[in-house]
Amino acid sequence: MRPLLELKDLHVHLGTLYIIQGVNFRVHEGENLAILGRNGAGKTTLLKSIMGILKPSKGSIKFRGRDITGARLHERARMGIGYVPDTRRIFGSLTVRENLLLGAAGIDKKIIPERLEFVLKIFPDLAKLMNHKARNLSGGQQQMLNIARIIVNPHRRLLLVDEPTEGLSPLYVKRISEAFEVLTREGVTIILVETKPLLVKRITKRYVILSHGKIVKEGDSGELFENPEIMRRYIGVEMRGG
């Protein structure tokens, strides 16, 4: 089967810093992947390179069989890659509705109402906030909008999600985790950078651990639970149920 995403010997520099040092992996459709690693390991840099925000210095990225290494940011988005940044880069001076409509740019106008309905079913909290300026939302609400703005568009096939539950209360963590489960059932594939073991287990099938810009371990996500030593050793996270 042709992989959805394939990275071959990817290297990324940030200025003079050598951040991603030869990463290879494949993600098949429906096979959600967790990227783990300590702070500064290069997880965000890797996601940004896949999205096209950063240019790799070497290597190739293939999406649905097409080489997209040189494709521009908006072109990759049009091909079906969605990016949920860790710093919630919602448009603060725009209303929630305007944020969502930008996310729906380029789709058939007729299906916009049903897509709005779809995201509001996943994140009902946003329904009563549609005409509020996004900057007035709470952190958790902003994170829901950050995700909703991407998935309102039905053409997204691959989501790159960067630490979506960082700093959020358990209620929001639950909402967001449920949202990813719904999306997975709808056929969206997710690459998730996350440190909460329970979330990793619920959402992803496989994991890779990044350290100093290299993949140092990979396997099935369930294994992280059976073998807590892995998390402790590579990431410094104590496993306690979740």
Binding site: M51, L73, H74, R89, F91, E98, N99, L102, A105
Partner: protein
């Protein structure tokens, strides 16, 4: 120092502010969206004034002159963007240098054609004065206020209710994120230049019946517009509008009460804002 003088100065200030808004809003959008400091913007304002004057005086129609100034400067602005600046996409310094070149070229050309004379033309229908509550106002300056309000409402509606407007507002905040949603932000650059340049041309032309047009008009109002953009907060519609009115009124009050300081007040205001609120009056 009578109350009458004060009221007249404020009304004149609002009228000036209406014109200042037309030049500043384009400058602010262009800088906010594309990061280009457009030094040619004042020259478009001045050229719009000259073209307005030529059409006013040959057709005796205010409307035709304003339309000609707007259309020709839109066209020129769109050409500058798509013909010159696009090639230097991403090179902010290179783009600023190009706009300086265009400014010098346009200013020099205008000087060769129109020379040092100040040209003025006033429409017959708005030549008079109106007495309201015992105070005498110039009809044309009241017209400027009403006209400015209509233009501000139009710009606001464009930004608020059109797709392009929404994309422009979002991209001023975070261009990369707009692109990550699948939108080619570059496509809005030309339209922003067309809109901003048209507004500048219109602002220059509509000022002719009040203050006339002369060779240093461009550079003078360019500096005012820079100050307004800094005071109002870059890329903010409400900020630019508020700062235009503030600068207009301050300038006119100073002209009545402390004429020797009038030219400097705008920059004193700008420094005060920079010190107290470096992000400008209005956020987004």
């Amino acid at each position: 120092m009578s109350l009458e003088t004060l009221i007249v100065a404020i009304v004149d200030g609002i009228a000036l502010g209406a014109t200042l808004f037309m030049i500043s809003s384009g400058l602010s959008l262009i800088f906010g969206l594309m990061g280009i400091v457009n030094f040619a913007h004042g020259s478009l304002f001045m050229l719009g004034a000259y073209i307005g004057y030529e059409v006013f005086s040959s057709t005796n129609s205010l409307a035709l002159g304003l339309a000609a100034a707007t259309a020709s400067m839109s066209l020129l602005g769109g050409t500058i963007e798509s013909g010159l600046l696009k090639r230097k996409s991403g090179d902010v310094l290179g783009q600023a240098l190009i706009t300086i070149g265009v400014m010098l070229l346009l200013d020099r050309t205008a000087w060769i054609i129109w020379g040092e004379t100040t040209y003025k033309w006033v429409p017959d229908s708005l030549k008079g004065v109106i007495e309201l509550g015992g105070i005498i106002f110039y009809e044309y300056r009241l017209f400027l206020i009403a006209f400015g309000a209509v233009i501000a409402a139009a710009v606001f509606s464009f930004l608020k209710y059109t797709n392009y407007g929404t994309i422009i507002r979002a991209a001023i905040e975070d261009r990369e994120m707009v692109e990550a949603l699948g939108i080619d932000v570059r496509k809005t650059f030309t339209i922003t230049f067309i809109l901003g340049s048209g507004l500048a041309g219109l602002g220059g032309a509509v000022l002719v019946p009040w203050l006339g047009v002369y060779p240093t008009l461009g550079i003078t109002y360019l500096l005012y517009a820079f100050a307004i953009v800094v005071i109002g907060g870059i890329g903010s519609f409400t900020g630019t509008l508020a700062a235009s009115l503030l600068v207009g009124v301050t300038q006119q009050l100073a002209a009545y009460y402390v004429p020797w300081l009038a030219e400097a007040t705008i920059f004193i205001l700008m420094l005060a804002v920079l010190l107290l609120r470096p992000e400008g009056l209005v956020r987004g």
